[in-house]
């Protein structure tokens, strides 16, 4: 018999193993955790979200996803550790208890399951979805260039063979469309958080343009507070800023869409490391990465709880 106590959070897992663990968490912490299917991937794999909730009705909620770029394995692994952390600490940790007494959390640990499976079976370096591109032999769309925010602009490629191909149209990827539909149908998402790797950055909009968002000062303050929380555990330093100012112009990104949709607290994390291993972060660093990332996320979540809009 399996339970979340036998799942090794310090190693990388197959999609099947992760999905099994979602069931274990929902079963073991049934009072606050439930599993929701929000759609199917291009290759018909389910898109599972864990809902953490202590109340009824459509409470204000926080969205958190990981693994939209499939090769960024530490993000899916960290998301699983974070799921266990939230579930097991409710009722024990006053901060998590207070969060869940006021907000729901929706966690999509594998936003691109086809790509993730492909990284395990065929090509560890795969980043995109696995959809077929009409008129091209090349497969896949960069799902973080496919959102309806400056779609097709600078920092995205129109070449289907490119790793940053934006796709034929915004929301063409069912993995993206499923999240968009879920967020719109929910109607009360207060924060949109997404995990990527690597570079140790904490970014807010915009990426498709270089003008600062209306809430630039507030987002910067929150971001710096979160970066301080991250640094407090193991000394890991994060750079904070808008996407355009910290990396480069990149259009069609998820947090630009969420912010323009009205979700003020929109942040993208780029987790460890700064390049020593890049996407191949050793498994020994999964738990430390997840621990420090959780501190940063918690800082943002507490702010969201205390500052509704």
């Amino acid at each position: 018999e399996r339970s979340s106590s036998t799942f090794n959070y310090g190693t990388y897992h197959s999609l099947a193993s992760i999905y099994q663990e979602l069931d274990n968490l929902a079963s073991e912490y049934g009072n606050i955790v439930s599993k929701i299917q929000i759609g199917e991937s291009y290759e018909k794999r389910p898109l599972y979200v864990l809902k953490f909730s202590t109340g009824r009705g459509n409470r204000p909620a926080i969205w958190l996803d990981a693994g939209i770029h499939s090769r960024e394995w530490v993000t899916q692994a960290s998301a699983m550790w974070i799921a266990k952390k939230i579930a097991s600490d409710y009722g024990n940790d006053p901060s998590i208890t207070s969060l869940l007494n006021n907000l729901d959390i929706f966690l999509l640990p594998v936003a691109n399951p086809d790509g993730y499976e492909f990284t395990h079976t065929t090509n560890r370096m795969w980043r995109k979805t696995r959809s077929k591109n009409s008129g091209s032999l090349c497969i896949g769309v960069d799902p973080n260039r496919n959102w309806d925010a400056g779609f097709g602009g600078p920092g995205a490629s129109s070449n289907p063979c490119s790793d940053s191909y934006h796709g034929p149209r915004a929301n063409s990827e069912v993995e993206v469309k499923s999240v968009v539909d879920f967020i719109k149908n929910h109607g009360n998402i207060q924060a949109f958080l997404t995990l990527h790797s690597y570079s140790q950055l904490l970014m807010y909009p915009y990426g498709y343009k270089c003008t600062p968002p209306a809430d630039n000062a507030e987002l910067n303050t929150i971001g710096k507070a979160a970066a301080n929380s991250i640094r407090s555990l193991y000394g890991t330093t994060y750079t904070v800023g808008s996407i355009c100012s910290t990396i480069y112009q990149a259009s069609g990104g998820s947090i630009d869409w969420s912010y323009d949709y009205g979700i003020k607290y929109s942040f993208a994390f780029e987790l460890r490391d700064t390049g020593r291993y890049g996407f191949l972060l050793p498994a020994a660093q999964i738990i430390p990465t997840a621990e420090e990332t959780w501190l940063g996320l918690k800082t943002i979540m507490e702010y969201v709880r205390d500052n509704p809009y």
């Binding site: 560890r124 370096m125 570079s199 990396i247 390049g275 020593r276 191949l280 050793p282 498994a283």
Partner: protein, 94 residues
């Protein structure tokens, strides 16, 4: 499972916009099969790129001939991938 024997990841540091342009040109050369882990953006930020064994010499010559500084981040990608695989198998056996 695709193998990456002899693939290297280089960290490239540019000094000016001119050198960045050269890297962006490199990005367009499909036959080199380069995989940019960190894309060329500004001279302040490094560029990380995975280079297949068959393109290594050409890319290094290109960089050196344009005076672009680089270092090797990962000597042989497959060595790290093999280690990652071993870790996973060991964990499953436990």
């Amino acid at each position: 499972l695709e193998t990456f024997v002899g693939h290297q990841v280089l960290r490239i540091k540019t000094r000016n916009e001119e050198q960045l342009k050269k890297l962006r040109f490199l990005e367009t050369l499909d036959h080199l099969e380069l995989d940019f882990w960190l894309n060329p953006s500004t001279p302040a930020l490094p560029v990380d790129v995975r280079i297949p064994a068959h393109s290594l010499q050409a890319v290094k010559i290109f960089l050196e001939s344009h005076g672009i500084e680089y270092s090797i981040l990962i000597e042989d990608l497959q060595v790290i991938l093999d280690r990652e695989k071993q870790d996973i198998v060991a964990s499953q056996q436990m």
